[in-house]
Each structure stands twice: as structure tokens, then as C-alpha cells.
């Protein structure tokens, strides 16, 4: 069984290295095909492991080699396949396989084709390390690895200034959060003396609550950065500068869910500190609403989906914070499928529209792009949570959890968000695929994507539709590791009212979106309509002025501070010191050049001078050696 573990873990690495071999050469199909096949192998291995874990309930724990062993510190390269990590492995490998195959088509005309696959496979490897590691140090390596690959992929088109800016923003935001994460890990090591999950969690109940609270908070700060929770959320929307497959894989399905994974993984810790859990849940609910509201008006197709991702991450954190870890993980899985599908569909649309992102400039694409139309509609339905698609099972469950735990405010917020989700999802679908063919005004001739790209997307479509059916099997498996709390509304009447009510609310939102955005007089907004000048719209389209605030009050202040340090400290002190030292040598050289006049007589004089110096030294040291004992007593008398 270890063989499957290693295969699942290392075949993406092999694929990445293989593609990297071609990094500097012109596009060759093989650099995309081989990593895709290797990822398929990785997926199959993960599948075998899943079946094994599901059937036997055994977990696999291997220790590949020692990484660090100094004194009391012992950190191995250990990997664990248990119910939680195998779920993540399946999600990661499945989505990444699909995305790889899709990207062969999507990146067809790109010059950086080979480089793209090297980065993408490297990302998958890092993600696998992250989810499979059996200790916090390994998790952190994977954590940083995905951060690095994310940076490389957001800034993939590095000639675009906005892309490099977005990449740096994502990287820096994540580093800020990683500092918190690192402090959390240090705290764990300091207090428990180990970084292995099992031992650390076993030692935690005996610790002081205050210490545990700090651990939980700092770990969650790390999770906030990676999962783009408020106030570190701005990078996710900007990260849409990267190629669309990247958005689908990293910024929807896998990397951003690492924060949720961390909280789920650290569930023994968060169970001990329910206050922090409540804070996480509240923040999650807030982010869900906050992000959904920004998605309502945004005019960039990918950003809308990114905000939707943010909103769904909020749902996951709400569930995890309330202790319903398995629900959070289940939503994570279901969300990965339909959100990746949505992104890939958006990628098709972008291709068809020659990288046009404004849905107001599209319209009526459903006639030209049947396959994409169906897929995106189904993905949106799943996202909205309509029965019987995946979103219904996972998202409604979160609503129920909030209700049952008597956190009615969270429940209300999440319910409202569900309506908003349905609205903005179908606003997008309606604007892109229905209504008049507005794209004709812009002289674009859309065409459907390659057939194999659609075929590659089909597994995701299938799972987005049927994932709900796995709920009970999944529950049985994963609750061997996670707290097995079944959430049932006590009275059947309440349950049905809630469910049907939610469904009706969502359907109403969808209907409203269709009605509003399929009408014939939708025009490309030009900033003149009444709505666009309203305060609410401006607030939302400017993302609550948060990027503005960051730019003006943090970045600028920091920049000014840096300027001061640069001109005052660096140039005046550090540079001056270094230059001074260099100058001393330079001047000495200038001055002593005369010694090398080549004049034999001068040289003789210098020779005698040197001889005098050496002889004096010989005398001094000779005397010192002879009288070393006396000198020592003299010095010790002086107190040296």
C-alpha cells in the first residue's frame, strides 16, 4: 500500500520535472501530455487508497526518512493517508487531472506552454505534501510550496504588469498570514514538544486554555491568508490575472481550501477552544455575505466567480467553526467540483470571446456554445444549491448546522447569502448565454472550445451533479477520524419548512436574475444609469474601498517609511559604511602606490623598514614567550 502512497505523492513531481526539462524550449505537446498522464496515475493511486481506507478503515502512516533530528527536535518526512487526507487527495488529484487535460487545449497557443505545466504539476506536488504530511512542519513546507507555485502561476504572463502585481500581492499577503501560522507552529512545538499531529493533539487537553487559544488564533491567521478570509481577502480577486485553469485549480478547488483543511485537521485543538471556533464561524458567515455582495455588481466574469469562491469558503469556515468538520470537508469537496467546472466553463467563454471578461459584452452565447452553456448552467445550479445537485446536500447542511447549533444570526446571514449566490450566479449565466447577441457589436466571432476540453470537464460535471449521493458513505468514512455529529432538525415539520423555504428562496432569486438580465434592453453599462451612480453600487464595485484603503493607508505609509529608511538609514549609514571601508582600501592603494615606483633604491629602503618591523615583532614576541607566566599574572592582576 505504501507503493500507492508514494506513487500518488511523487508522480506530480516527476511530471513537473519532466515538463521543466522543456522549460526553455518551444512548445511541445509532450510536456503537457506526460504530466497529465502522471497525474492520472496519481489520481488512480489515490482512488485505490480511498477504496482501501473506505473498505477496511485502516490508515496508512509511513515515515519516508528523517528530516531533522537535533536534540529533542525530531521531524521526519512522514506521510499519512487517513480519512481526511484521502478525501483531499482525491479532490486534488481529480481536479488537477481534469485541469491538466483541459489546459493542454486552453494553453494551446501560449508560448509558455511547457513552463505552465511545470509550475502546475509542481503545485499539485506541493498540495499533496500539504495534505499528506503527518506533521506541522511538512504541512508548512507544502503550504509554502503552494504559495510559491501560486505566485508563479498568477504571474504566469509576467510581461503584463497587472499580472506580476497580482502575483506579488498574493505572495506578500500570504507571507503576512504565514507569519501567524509559523508562530502557531512554534507555540505548538514549545508547549507540546512535538510537531506530529497525533502526539501534539494528544498533549493538548492538558494545556492551559489561554495557550490553546493563542495557538488556535495564530493557526487560523495562517488559514485566513491562504483561504483569503477578511481582511486578507483582496489577493484572491486580483489573482484572476493568472490563466483560467490556474484559477480553477488553485483559486477555487485546492489551494484556497487549504485553510479549511488546516482547521479540519486541527479539530482536536479547536474543539478545546469553542470561543475561537465561534469567532471562525462568525467570520466565515461575514465573509460569505461580504464576498457575495461584491459579486453582485462586478463586471468581470472571473472576479465574480472568485468572489463566489470566497463566499463559499466563508461557508466552510462557518461549518468548521461550529464544530461540523465533516460538513465543512464535504462542502469543500462538492465545491471543488462545481467551482472548478464553473471556472473551466468561464475559460471556454474567454477563449471564445478573445479574452473578453465583461459579461455585458457577451449575451446569447448559449446558441454557439452548447456544451459550455449546459455545463456552466449545471454548475451554477449546483452552486446555488438546488436539489438534487451537490450544492444542495453540502450547503443546506451548513445552514442546518447553524440552525441546530442555535446560532440564528449566522443562519440568517448564510441563508441570505444563499439567495445572493443564486442571484449572482445566474446573473452571470443570463448575461453570458441568454439575451441578445451583444458580442456582435464588438466584432467577435465566438466558437466552441476543443471537444477534448469538454470531455475532460465531464467528470467534474458528473460529480457536481451526483456528489450529494455520496453523503452517507462519506459520512461513515470520515467520521472515524472527525467528531461524528449528525445534524438532524428535531421536528420534521421545521426541517421541511426550512428546506423547501430555502429552495423557494433560491429559485426566486434565480428567476429574478433571469428576468432582470435576459431582457432585450441590457446595454453595456457606461456609468450613466441611475443604479450605477447609487452609493451602494459604488461601494460594491469598489470592493468596499478596501483595496483603496490598503493602498492609501498601509502600502503608502509603508512606502514612505521605506523611503525614509532607504535614504536615511541605508544610504547614509549602511552604504556610507561600506563605501567608507572600500574607500579606505582605495585611498591606501593610491597612497602606497608610490612604494611601487620600481626604483631599486626606494625598494631597498622599504626592505630595511620591513625588516625592522619584523625584527621588532620577533623581539616582542620572543620576550612575551619568555615571560608569559609573568604577563599572565600581571593581566590577571588587572582583572582581564
Amino acid at each position: 500500500m505504501e507503493l500507492f502512497l508514494y506513487t500518488a505523492l511523487f508522480s506530480p513531481l516527476v511530471g513537473s520535472l519532466f515538463a521543466a526539462l522543456f522549460g526553455a524550449s518551444p512548445k511541445s505537446k509532450i510536456a503537457g501530455i506526460v504530466p497529465s498522464i502522471l497525474l492520472g496515475v496519481s489520481f488512480l493511486s489515490s482512488l485505490v487508497l480511498l477504496i482501501l481506507v473506505m473498505m477496511t478503515g485502516h490508515t496508512i502512516h509511513v515515515e519516508m526518512m528523517t528530516w531533522m533530528a537535533t536534540g529533542d527536535l525530531y521531524i521526519p518526512f512522514g506521510f499519512v493517508v487517513d480519512q481526511v487526507s484521502v478525501t483531499m487527495m482525491i479532490v486534488v488529484t481529480l481536479v488537477s487531472t481534469v485541469v491538466h487535460v483541459y489546459a493542454i487545449g486552453y494553453m494551446d497557443h501560449d508560448k509558455g506552454f511547457n513552463r505552465f505545466f511545470a509550475w502546475l504539476s509542481a503545485f499539485v506536488f506541493s498540495m499533496m505534501v500539504l495534505v499528506m504530511s503527518d506533521n506541522f512542519a511538512g504541512l508548512f513546507i507544502g503550504w509554502e510550496g503552494v504559495g510559491l507555485c501560486s505566485w508563479g502561476l498568477i504571474g504566469f504572463w509576467y510581461k503584463k504588469e497587472s499580472a506580476t502585481w497580482a502575483a506579488n500581492e498574493a505572495f506578500i499577503m500570504n507571507r503576512i498570514a504565514d507569519l501567524g501560522m509559523l508562530i502557531g507552529i512554534f507555540l505548538i512545538y514549545w508547549n507540546t514538544g512535538t510537531l506530529q499531529y497525533e502526539e501534539a493533539f494528544a498533549a493538548m487537553p492538558s494545556l492551559d486554555t489561554a495557550v490553546l487559544t493563542w495557538m488556535g488564533i495564530f493557526l487560523f491567521i495562517g488559514a485566513m491568508g491562504k483561504s483569503a478570509q477578511f481582511p486578507l481577502h483582496t489577493w484572491l480577486a486580483d489573482a484572476m490575472e493568472g490563466p483560467t485553469p490556474v484559477s480553477a485549480l488553485i483559486h477555487a478547488a485546492t489551494m484556497v481550501t487549504a485553510g479549511v483543511y488546516l482547521v479540519v485537521r486541527a479539530n482536536p485543538l479547536y474543539d478545546l477552544i469553542p470561543n475561537v471556533g465561534l469567532f471562525i464561524a462568525s467570520l466565515g458567515a461575514f465573509v460569505a455575505l461580504f464576498a457575495a455582495s461584491m459579486a453582485l455588481v462586478n463586471r468581470d466574469m472571473k472576479r465574480v466567480i472568485a468572489y463566489s469562491t470566497l463566499s463559499q469558503l466563508g461557508y466552510m469556515f462557518a461549518a468548521a467553526g461550529l464544530g461540523a468538520y465533516w460538513v465543512a470537508l464535504f462542502h469543500l469537496m462538492a465545491h471543488a467540483f462545481f467551482k472548478a467546472l464553473l471556472f473551466l466553463g468561464a475559460g471556454n467563454v474567454m477563449h471564445a470571446m478573445h479574452d473578453e471578461l465583461d459579461p455585458f459584452k457577451m449575451g446569447g452565447l448559449g446558441k454557439v456554445m452548447k456544451g459550455t452553456f449546459i455545463m456552466m448552467t449545471l454548475a451554477s445550479v449546483a452552486l446555488a444549491g438546488i436539489f438534487p445537485l451537490a450544492g444542495f446536500f453540502s450547503k443546506d447542511l451548513i445552514l442546518e448546522v447553524a440552525f441546530i447549533e442555535h446560532h440564528f444570526i449566522i443562519y440568517a446571514v448564510l441563508l441570505l447569502t444563499a439567495g445572493l449566490t443564486a442571484f449572482y450566479s445566474f446573473r452571470l449565466v443570463a448575461l453570458i448565454f441568454h439575451g441578445e447577441d451583444r458580442y456582435k457589436h464588438f466584432g467577435i466571432d465566438p466558437h466552441e472550445a476543443y471537444r477534448f476540453m469538454l470531455v475532460a470537464m465531464s467528470p467534474l460535471l458528473l460529480l457536481a451533479v451526483i456528489a450529494g449521493a455520496f453523503k452517507m458513505g462519506y459520512f461513515n468514512m470520515v467520521t472515524e477520524l472527525l467528531p461524528a455529529t449528525e445534524y438532524h432538525v428535531h421536528s420534521a415539520t421545521t426541517y421541511w419548512i426550512m428546506t423547501i423555504g430555502t429552495q423557494l428562496f433560491v429559485i426566486a432569486a434565480i428567476a429574478y436574475a433571469y428576468k432582470k438580465y435576459t431582457s432585450k434592453d441590457i446595454k453595456v453599462p457606461d456609468g450613466t444609469s441611475k443604479m450605477e451612480n447609487s452609493f451602494g453600487y459604488k461601494l460594491l464595485i469598489n470592493q468596499y474601498y478596501i483595496p483603496h484603503f490598503y493602498e492609501n493607508y498601509i502600502v503608502k505609509a509603508y512606502r514612505e517609511l521605506s523611503e525614509v529608511f532607504w535614504t536615511k538609514v541605508d544610504q547614509k549609514v549602511v552604504d556610507a559604511t561600506v563605501d567608507g571601508i572600500a574607500n579606505i582600501f582605495y585611498q591606501t592603494g593610491e597612497k602606497t602606490r608610490d612604494m611601487q615606483s620600481g626604483n631599486l633604491s626606494t625598494m631597498l629602503k622599504w626592505m630595511v623598514a620591513g625588516m625592522v618591523v619584523l625584527l621588532s615583532l620577533a623581539v616582542v614576541f620572543g620576550l612575551a614567550a619568555r615571560h608569559s607566566g609573568e604577563i599572565k599574572t600581571f593581566l590577571s592582576g588587572l582583572g582581564v
Binding site: 602606490r593 611601487q596 615606483s597 620600481g598 626604483n599 631599486l600 633604491s601 625598494m603 631597498l604 629602503k605 630595511v608
Partner: protein, 101 residues
């Protein structure tokens, strides 16, 4: 008044200093060779004196070898001097500056 080893050593020091002054001050290459001879001879005196006062022949032996070295130095040095003179038609130390850095 007994003449001891110290007297000879002082004499040797004085001669050595004279030799060094010569080495440093003269610009005539030939004078430089003379000064070198003085240096060697001042050392020879100390050797002979030490040999005498300690009843040991080693000092004298060294003095012999110093004389041999001085002789060969003169032979080679004078040869080089002649070559230089043929080439540049002078033996001024200041003119030897091909090693200028």
C-alpha cells in the same frame, strides 16, 4: 682592561649600521656592492668573536662559508653590472625602474 665578547658585538653592530646606510643611500650600483661586503664582514666579526669566546669552531666555519658566498656574489654581481652598463651605459640605481608598478 679586558676585551670581552660585548666589545666585538658592539663593533659588529656599528659596522652593520654603516653597511646598511650604504645600502640605502648610495645610488651607484658599485657602491651598493661595497656596502654589501661591509654587511657580510660585520657579521663575520661576530662569528669569529663568538667562536673564540665559547671555544667553538662552528662560528669560524660559518665565517668561511660567508666569505665563499661573498666571493661568488661578487663574481655574478659584477657580471650583471657589466651587462647593465653595456646596455644602458650607466650604473645609476634610479635608472632601474622597469619594475614600476
Amino acid at each position: 682592561m679586558e676585551i670581552g665578547l660585548n666589545h666585538y658585538l658592539v663593533l659588529s653592530t656599528i659596522l652593520f649600521a654603516i653597511g646598511l646606510v650604504g645600502v640605502m643611500r648610495r645610488k651607484n650600483l658599485l657602491m651598493l656592492f661595497f656596502a654589501t661586503e661591509i654587511l657580510l664582514n660585520s657579521v663575520n666579526i661576530s662569528f669569529a668573536a663568538i667562536s673564540h669566546y665559547y671555544g667553538d669552531l662552528t662560528g669560524q666555519m660559518f665565517a668561511f662559508f660567508v666569505i665563499a658566498i661573498a666571493a661568488s656574489e661578487v663574481a655574478v654581481g659584477l657580471g650583471l653590472l657589466i651587462v647593465w652598463h653595456k646596455k644602458h651605459n650607466n650604473i645609476d640605481l634610479d635608472s632601474m625602474s622597469t619594475m614600476r608598478g
